[in-house]
C-alpha cells in the first residue's frame, strides 16, 4: 500500500480530511504479522492501539482450567487495543493467518484526538459500528454479506447522482465496509465486468442502479 493510498484509506476510515489523515499516518506504523504471532499477552500493560488493514487478530483468554477460549476477534476496518488509557490486557492477542495493522501508542492517539476533533468524531463512528456489531453478535442477527456491504457503501457514496469523483480508493471502500481490500477489489471488478459500473481516472459511475441494488444482500 502506497503512502497516498494509506492516507486516503485513513481519511475514509476516520471520516477526516487528507491533512488530518496524514497526521494519523505520521503517528502510526504499518506492521505485518504472521500466523500465531502475539501482539499482547494477557496481563501485560497495554499501551497500543491497532487499526486492522488486513487479516484478523483473535482475543484469546486462558481460563482457570487452562483451556483457551476465544473472546472476540478483530478484522479489517476495526480498531482495538488500550483505549482511552493504557490498561492491563485481559487476553492474549493472537494473529490468525496474516495480519497487517497500523500501530499507534495509546498516548499518541489520545494526544491526536485532543488536537484534531474530526479524528475523534471519526473514531466515535468506528467504535459505534463495532458496538453495533457486538450487539448483532449477541442477538445472532444476520447482517449483509461482505460483498453486500461493499455495494451498499458504494451506493451510499455515489448518492442520488450515481457518481463518485475522484473514484474511491478500493482499500478505503473495503475498510468502510469492514472487509479486506481483496474482497472489495473482487466485488468492484465484478461490477465493472458486468457493466453495472464504469470506472476511469476521473470518476466511478453507476450505470445500473437496479442491478447494483439487487446485489445488496
Amino acid at each position: 500500500m502506497t503512502a497516498s493510498d494509506r492516507i486516503a484509506t485513513l481519511a475514509s476510515f476516520f471520516s477526516c480530511s487528507p491533512e488530518e489523515a496524514a497526521k494519523v499516518d505520521a503517528a502510526t506504523r504499518l506492521v505485518h504479522y504472521r500466523h500465531k504471532d502475539i501482539l499482547a499477552h494477557q496481563g501485560d500493560l497495554g499501551a497500543k492501539l491497532w487499526i486492522v488493514l488486513a487479516g484478523r487478530a483473535q482475543l484469546q483468554i486462558i481460563g482457570m482450567d487452562g483451556q483457551t477460549k476465544l473472546l472476540a476477534s478483530h478484522g479489517p476496518g476495526e480498531l482495538f487495543g488500550a483505549f482511552p488509557n493504557e490498561r492491563i490486557v485481559i487476553s492474549d492477542v493472537v494473529v490468525h493467518n496474516r495480519l497487517s495493522v497500523l500501530e499507534i501508542a495509546t498516548a499518541n492517539m489520545t494526544r491526536l484526538l485532543q488536537e484534531e476533533a474530526r479524528i475523534g468524531n471519526g473514531l466515535s463512528r468506528i467504535l459505534g459500528r463495532q458496538y453495533n456489531a457486538l450487539l448483532d453478535r449477541m442477538a445472532a442477527r444476520i447482517t449483509l454479506t461482505a460483498n453486500g456491504r461493499v455495494y451498499a457503501e458504494l451506493l451510499h457514496e455515489a448518492g442520488a447522482q450515481g457518481t463518485i469523483s475522484p473514484p474511491p480508493v478500493i482499500a478505503a471502500l473495503a475498510l468502510s465496509a469492514q472487509t479486506t481490500r481483496e474482497t472489495g477489489s473482487r466485488a468492484i471488478n465484478a461490477l465493472e465486468r458486468r457493466g453495472i459500473i464504469r470506472r476511469d481516472d476521473e470518476q466511478l459511475e453507476i450505470l445500473s442502479r437496479n442491478l447494483l441494488e439487487e446485489l445488496v444482500i
Partner: protein
Amino acid sequence: MTSLTQILSLARAGNPARAWALFHSSGWDVREDDPKALTLKGRLLKDQAKASEGTERARLYGLAAEAYAAAVEPGRDSYPLINAAALALLGGKPERSGALAKETLALIDGDPDQGENAYWRAATRAEALLLLGEEAAARAALADGIAKLPYAWEDHAATLGQFELILAEQGSDAAWLDRHRPPPSLYFSGIIGLDAADPAIREEVDAIIRRERPGFGFGALAAGADILIAEALHRAGAELHITLPYPVDRFRELSVTPYGERWGPRFDALLEAAIRVEVLTELPDEAERSLAIAVELADLVAMGQCVRNAGVLRSRPKALTITGQGDQPRRQHQVWSDTGHDQYAIPVSRVAGHHSIAEASGTEIRELAAIFWVDNLDPDALSLLPDNARDFRPAGDAHYRIMTDLAELQSTGRRLLQHDGNSRLGFVIDIMDTQAPAASLLEQAADLSRAASGEAILTDFKSAMALTMQSVGQTIEEIGELQTASGPLPLWSIA
C-alpha cells in the same frame, strides 16, 4: 413489516413458501400500484410454478405473467414486460406472449435507454424475438449482447436459463445455447513428488487446458502438480480461486519450500495472482491438523466451489489431477468420481523418496465430520429419524449430534423441518475428534442454529461447499453474515 429485499433474499435462499407467506403477511400482495412489489410478486409466483407440475404449473406461470405485466409503468421498463411475455408463454397463452413480446420490441426500439445496460438491452431484444419465433434473429441479438459485455457471465447464465425454458415450451432444440455458455470451472490437484522439469507433463496439462478452456481454477498451491496446473491456468487467463488447508505461511513451509526453494517464488506469484484465497485452519483450542485430513477438507471445499461456480454460471465443472502411477485415488477424489462430472488424470512417475500424503497421517485421531445442532429439540421429532440417528447429546437447552456420514445431514434436517418448520437448525463440517469435539466448534454450530429462523438449515462457507459435493436437489445459497467470537462468519442456507 418485512422489506421486499428481505423477502427476495428468502426466495433466493430456496424458501419460496416462507417468502410467499411473508409477502402476504406484510401486505405487499395488495400493493397493486407498486412496481417493485409487483415485480417481486411475479418472481415469487414464478418460483412456485417451477416447483409445481402440470396444470398448476401453467396456472402459476400465468399469474406470474400478469403480476409482471401489472408492474410495467406506462412507457417504461422492459424488464417486467419481457418477463410477462415469457411467463405468458409458459402459462399456456402464446398469443398474449406474442403481444407482450411485440410491445417489448417496440419499447426497446423507441427508447435507447431501455435495458439495464448494453448486455441486457440486447438480451431482452433476443428474448422477445425468440418468443415471436424469430430464432435466427434471436441468436444474432444474443451474440451481439454477449459481444458487448463478454465477461458478464452471471447475466449470460440467467439468459440461458430463461431461453432453455422458452425453447423447451416451444419444443425447439436448445443445443445452440451451448456456444454461449460461460467457460467451465476446473478443480485441480495432484502429487508433489513429480519431475517438474519433465516437459511432457507441462505439455499434457497445457493441452487439456487448451482443449477444455476453463475460465476458473479451484485448488491449492502445493509444490508440484498444484503449482504446475495453476501456472498453466494463469497463463491461459483463468481466474484462480485458491483454498489452502493451513494459514498461508504455514502452508508455504509445509507443502511448498521443503520441496525446493524454487517453488517459493512461484507460490508467492500465484497467490498474488489469485482472485480469491480461502484459508482453512484449526480453532484456537485445537492442535494443528495432520496433513492428509487437512488436505481432504480443503479438497472438498475447492471441489464444492468448482461445482457451485459451474452451477451458478450454467456451465460445466471438470477436474484435473496429476497422480502417481499406481496410486490409489484419494478418498475425496472418489467423491468427485461419484458425482459423474468430467475428470482428467495424468499419471506420472513419482520422484524417488516421495510418498503419498495419505501414508503420512500418523496418529491423527480426528476425522471429517459434522456437528448438527438443534435448538429446542422436540423429543417427538426423534421418532421420525432412523434408530441409529437418534443419539443427540444435550447441551443446555439444545441438542447436537456428530455425523461422519455427510449425506445423513440432509435427511436428518429435512425430517426435523417436516416435523416442525420453525426448528432452528445449524451445522458445521470440520475436522474433529468425534468423541470430544473442540468447544469452539460446538459454539460455532450453536451460533448458527441460533440465527436460523426455520425452513432452512444454516451453515458456514466451508461446510456449505463441502456439502455441495454431497447434495442433490437442495438450494445452497449465501444469505448474509453472522458475527461470532471468531469474526464474521459467511452464512449459508440449505433448503
